[in-house]
């Protein structure tokens, strides 16, 4: 299991874990995301990405998903998740 974390606006923490065997990604922390259940869609998206996916491509995919699903993150942006993915995937 690889883990990476990032402090975001307001001192909140976003933590990402990736199971190296299954590729399963989970996102934890004391952040706010609306609707809350959208975290599963974000986790599914990231779990399906090859580890070699570049940060720019991941940012685009996360941004598109957030726009399509009307997901609002408070204090962090798609690029934060992309940089965390890049850390746990490599």
């Amino acid at each position: 299991m690889r883990e990476a974390s990032k402090k975001i606006t307001g001192g909140k923490l976003v933590k990402m874990r990736r199971d190296e065997k299954t590729g399963r990604v989970t996102i934890h922390g004391d952040f706010f995301l609306h609707p809350e259940e959208s975290v599963f869609a974000l986790e599914d998206l990231l779990s399906g990405l090859p580890p070699s996916t570049g940060e720019g491509k991941t940012t685009t995919l996360v941004t598109e998903l957030m726009q399509e699903e009307g997901i609002q993150a408070v204090g962090f942006v798609a690029g934060d998740l992309a940089s965390l993915f890049s850390e746990v995937a490599h």
Binding site: T9, G10, K12, T26, I27, H28, G29, D30, F31, F32, L33, H34, P35, E36, V39, Q72, V74, G75
Partner: protein, 248 residues
């Protein structure tokens, strides 16, 4: 629209969280916007929606101290709800009363807390995203969710804080780190008693009531039997369940 104010009451953690959900459903179905004030007995730790219970909370210490634990439907961090140490509020209103801008709605509702503290003679300020500070230290934290066209914001006002107890229940690493953390928390967290010395909780509740209702048309109301029955079901099916509390 006239607000329903449910006066200060005490429930266990599971009932408190389930009442928020049941009242939210009721507001979605046309009941008046509602503000309620409550305490937690037994004292309890609540964790944010995205947190892991085992990672954030020392469950053995909770067992030893008779402290419950529950996972919230809102994000944010782990909170120790000390029966003697805080008053919690929940505000439930149709989304259009506060608009789509989430940070702005935090600011507006936390403004009621700032005003309440002003009635106690304390100069407080809203600190985005979700905190209220006095003297640069956190005295209140809130969390918000939006479901079914209803905004729920709940949060605590610290009446009296005991960092040693609080961080004995929360996992903050080794003892050495914990000591350092407790010292750091003492520097970052305050309470009404810290600020004012001798003050009764009833007086703090009175200030909260005034701060949250000023400028609103309102009347006292009770939790309806329908809400209460729904809350009992939700408490059992969700908030008391291992599946929910250990789901992350």
């Amino acid at each position: 629209m006239r607000w329903r104010i449910i006066p200060l009451q005490t429930n266990d953690a599971f009932t408190n969280m389930a009442l928020d959900e049941a009242i939210g459903e009721s507001v979605a179905a046309g009941s008046p916007p509602t503000i309620r004030f409550y305490r937690w007995r037994p004292s309890a730790v609540s964790i944010g929606y995205f947190q892991s219970l085992e990672e954030e909370v020392d469950l053995a210490e909770c067992e030893r101290m008779g402290v419950d634990w529950v996972r919230r439907r809102t994000g944010g961090g782990a909170v120790y709800h000390d029966f003697d140490g805080e008053i919690t509020y929940s505000l439930l209103a149709p989304l259009d009363m506060y608009g789509p801008d989430i940070p702005a709605s935090y600011g507006k509702i936390c403004g009621y807390l700032v005003r309440s503290l002003g009635f106690l003679g304390l100069e407080a300020e809203f600190s985005p995203v979700n905190d209220v500070l006095v003297d640069g230290r956190k005295i209140s934290g809130s969390a918000q969710t939006r479901r079914g066209g209803v905004l729920l914001q709940h949060g605590t006002l610290l009446y009296r804080v005991n960092p040693e107890v609080m961080f004995g229940l929360l996992r903050v690493g080794e003892e050495k780190i914990r000591d350092k953390f407790v010292r750091s928390v003492k520097a970052r967290v305050t309470s009404v008693v810290d600020q004012l010395g001798k003050v009764e909780m009833a007086e703090v509740y009175g200030a909260l009531l005034k701060g949250f209702t000023e400028g609103k048309a309102w009347e006292y109301g009770a939790i309806t039997p329908v809400e209460l029955n729904r809350a009992r079901v939700v408490a059992d099916e969700r908030y008391r369940s291992r599946e929910w509390n250990f789901s992350r």
